[in-house]
């Protein structure tokens, strides 16, 4: 009964989505007020029914209802409850339902926080999100119904993939999806602006916090995914340039470009068309990501069993969205205009170059990711001679990514300090000579301190130190610019939160670069065969293998290794890596044992039993690896700070005009004013 309710709720949600997509949009075009007013209640209703549907699926997981095919394929009665809940989005159908519900949730949030928008704008934004919902709900109901019955019911479930039975993976997909789907809000705003032909600072100010929060979720999701891969897959990697990872990286990069371009649109009225295009691109890349993950067209280390038929539907949907948006863009963008003028050397130019670099990185990642599909397509059209299937190796991405990162980071340092409209490059350089000098010094010292000078480590530390020193400089200058008669606490508080947000996020980038650079250049690892009592030395630590014991978990049995770690004769800890066999699918799984520290991680995982008591063991010493995820957290935190800035909340109380003035004033009240005074 419950699954039928869920199914029925899904159908009602589809009907509501159609109403939500059609009437408010027509109402806004034809100026029919009652139709526009339908947007909010219908969207809220749609969300309620999606939530009911989602609740029903969760219920059938928690109550072990194996007459539902999806539950029977992704759960098991022995599964701990939290993983039963996670199982709801552990497969294709359920993750789509999660996608749809997230979209409903975002729309619901828009209905709550849109009091200051014009009626037409609200109606259009909600309608466009409704139309996206129609696409996904149709997709679900036609090809991937999560409530399909299995008759007769299975006696027990096939179990959730053991790799997914992990706390990190319980929250990773919802976070990632919140990010993916979140860009639909910025997309809807952009399309609504194109339809309405009005694109001003108020529009940008409205889009900004939505874009930022979506980006924050995506950052969190990607960070979690990387961390999960690191500790769960048993071989200590944290980024593989796998298609599925790239699928989440591309909208992240585009979203990052969008955030920066929106800043210009809001504060200076510039980059209007470009901002709209980026909003379209960011969401299209989110859809492309969904397509890549769900269709299985590309061989991926991360691939889970997929169904190509379903990929076709998403590809079609993606096609419709992209073609429609770009046509609309081509038709209406000239009306929107380009925005204010600026000098060649100015904050605008730097942000523009930042955007161009991000777009280029994004395009390079896209090219590397879909290259195999392009080649396939060319072959099937007969444009090129048939050749063997191709894949693009990870070195491609590294070779392209790192050189492009350098100018980006250079600009990241000076951009926040440069003036809008016209900046003075020699003067900037002069002010930053100490920052540059100290970065250079750090970049020379740190590699030697790590044991050996390496060019890549030099480059990485130079970049990170450059960001950190300019962040410190920027904060100091800003502080000096506040009223020095006030106590310092008040002076700190007088600086807008958004300013701190920006610097925290930039600082996070630096921390990430430190982690990535040092772990890539200075990690040491050994794959060894170890008999009981054998020792191996890695990174100055001695690891002694004391054999394995058998243990038992709720739904698995495990061989647990005992590895004692010592340094200079002092015993430090015992690490217990496991080799688990999950009983339902008899699937083996490596559970690494990690000692996390600020300066290094010690990482041990079991390979296979070799002969009487001996095992193959993998031992890693990974310096600074945890900085990678600390950096992600800081970036996300920066985003949260930025969007909690007061000016996004007080708009309703001010008139449009004074707010405009305030924004402009704030834009120019950057440190260089202070230094001018000094």
């Amino acid at each position: 009964m419950v699954p039928e309710i869920g199914h029925f709720a899904l159908i009602i949600a589809l009907c509501l989505a159609i109403v939500q997509g059609v009437f408010p949009l027509m109402g806004a075009q034809l100026n029919i007020r009652p139709w526009m007013n339908m947007a909010k209640p219908v969207a809220q209703g749609q969300f309620v029914f999606l939530a009911i549907s989602f609740g029903c699926l969760t219920y059938s997981f928690v109550t072990d209802d194996y007459s539902v095919l999806y539950t029977a394929s992704h759960s098991n009665s022995l599964l701990p409850t939290q993983y039963k809940v996670a199982g709801v989005w552990g497969g294709h159908e359920g993750s789509l339902l999660l996608w749809a519900m997230m979209l409903g949730l975002w729309t619901f949030m828009v209905t709550l926080f849109s009091k200051n928008l014009t009626e037409e704008m609200v109606a259009r934004v909600i309608a466009i999100m409704g139309l996206i919902g129609v696409g996904f709900l149709l997709f679900m109901l036609l090809t991937s119904n999560p409530f399909e019955r299995l008759l007769p019911a299975a006696p027990d479930g096939r179990d959730l993939n053991p790799l997914l039975q992990d706390p990190g993976l319980v929250i990773h997909p919802p976070m990632l999806y919140m990010g993916y789907v979140g860009f639909s809000v910025a997309f809807a705003f952009a399309i609504a602006a194109l339809l309405g032909g009005r694109l001003d600072a108020a529009w940008a100010r409205w889009s900004r916090p939505w874009t930022t929060i979506a980006w924050v979720f995506l950052t969190g999701g990607i960070g979690l995914g990387s961390w999960w891969a690191y500790y769960e897959l048993g071989w200590g990697g944290w980024w593989f340039w796998d298609p599925v990872e790239n699928a989440s990286l591309m909208p992240w990069l585009a979203g990052m470009a969008l955030m920066h371009s929106l800043a210009v649109t809001e504060k200076r009225g510039g980059f209007k068309s470009w901002t709209v295009l980026l909003a379209i691109v960011a969401f299209s890349l989110s859809l492309l990501g969904t397509f890549l993950v769900r269709s299985g067209v590309i061989t991926s280390v991360h691939a889970f069993a997929t169904d190509p038929e379903r990929g076709t539907f998403i590809l079609g949907f993606l096609f419709v969205v992209v073609v429609f948006s770009l046509l609309l863009y081509a038709w209406r963008a000239p009306k929107v205009g380009l925005g204010g003028k600026f000098d060649l050397v100015s904050k605008e130019t730097m942000l523009l170059v930042n955007n161009v670099i991000l777009a280029v990185i994004c395009a390079a990642v896209l090219l590397g990711t879909v290259y195999p599909i392009i080649i396939e397509g060319f072959i099937s059209f007969g444009w090129i001679e048939p050749i063997n299937k191709v894949s693009v190796g990870a070195p491609y991405f590294n070779i392209v990514f790192v050189p492009l990162l350098m100018p980006l980071v250079f600009l990241l340092g000076i951009g926040p300090l440069a003036r809008w409209k016209k900046a003075d490059m020699p003067e900037l350089m002069k002010r930053l000579r100490w920052a540059f000098g100290s970065s250079l010094l750090a970049a020379i010292i740190v590699p030697f301190a790590m044991g050996e000078f390496q060019a890549w480590a030099f480059a990485g530390i130079l970049m990170a130190a450059w960001i950190i020193s300019t962040v410190i400089y920027g904060l100091r200058e800003r502080f000096k610019g506040t009223n020095n008669k006030l106590p310092w606490g008040t002076r700190l508080a007088s600086i807008p939160i958004g300013f701190y947000g920006m610097h925290v996020a930039h600082f996070g980038v630096a921390i990430c670069i430190v982690g990535g650079t040092l772990v890539s250049n200075y990690q040491s690892d050994k794959d060894v065969r170890m008999d009981i009592g054998d020792t191996v030395e890695v990174g100055g630590y001695t690891f002694r293998f004391d054999g394995v014991i058998e243990t038992k978990g709720p739904n698995y049995t495990a061989n647990q290794g005992m590895i004692r770690v010592s340094r200079d004769g002092h015993e430090l800890m015992t690490l217990n890596p496991e080799k688990r066999i999950y009983t339902v699918q008899t699937m083996p799984m490596t559970e690494a044992a990690i000692d996390t520290g600020t300066w290094r991680d010690l990482y041990v995982s079991l390979g296979e039993p070799v002969s009487n008591g001996a095992w193959s063991v993998r031992v890693y010493h990974k310096p600074f690896v945890s900085w990678l995820w600390t950096g992600c957290i800081l970036m996300a935190l920066g985003g949260v700070l930025a969007m909690s800035d007061r000016r996004y909340r007080v708009t309703s109380r001010k008139t449009e005009k004074s707010e405009e003035g305030a924004a402009l004033k704030e834009g120019s009240a950057t440190p260089e004013l202070a230094s001018e005074k000094a």
Binding site: N388, S391, G393, D527, M587
Partner: protein, 170 residues
């Protein structure tokens, strides 16, 4: 005049930048593309001798053999028609099993021994990499055709190069 000069400079720098980036990307792509070859193609000497490529198929049942160091593994990869012996040193991924699909990346050594640098992991037991599925299908078709041809030439004795693993593991 001065601002025009500046603009010209910016355009030139921009164009040079674009050209440099395009060159970087295309060059990186050129040198990092890995082609996929099935055992049949490797045996037919279609695979490159000095370049990294991907080999895929099924791990032949009973073919996994370990050297005394406990880390070096030999196993056969088959598409049902031909086999290629793979040598790999290191710890294999969890879902590496006999009779299951596998994709390995590496270079061809002497005597068609494939020296794998990496054995790709997969995250789902039921997942079959599409190119492996493709290779198996092709080998199957080729075999069916050959069987037909054999039937036609029934008088001829069985081909001496017939693979030893015929029909196994699929």
């Amino acid at each position: 005049m001065k601002s025009r000069h500046k603009r010209m400079m910016a355009i030139v720098i921009g164009l040079v930048g674009v050209a440099a980036i395009a060159a970087l990307i295309l060059n990186a792509l050129q040198s990092n593309i890995n082609h996929f070859f099935s055992p049949t193609e490797v045996v037919a000497n279609q695979a490159p001798k000095d370049r990294t490529f991907r080999l895929g198929g099924l791990v032949e049942e009973g073919s996994i053999r370990r050297e005394d160091d406990g880390l070096t593994v030999h196993f056969n990869v088959t598409d049902g028609a031909e086999i290629v012996v793979v040598k790999y040193t290191g710890i294999l991924p969890d879902l590496f099993r006999e009779g299951e699909g596998v994709v390995a990346q590496g270079k061809l050594g002497t005597d068609n021994l494939f020296m794998a640098e990496e054995v790709l992991a997969k995250h789902d037991e039921t997942y079959m990499p599409p190119e492996v599925a493709d290779a198996l299908e092709k080998a199957d078709e080729a075999k069916a055709e050959k069987a037909k041809a054999d039937e036609m030439n029934a008088a001829q004795p069985a081909n001496s190069t017939a693979p030893a693993v015929k029909g196994e593991g699929i």
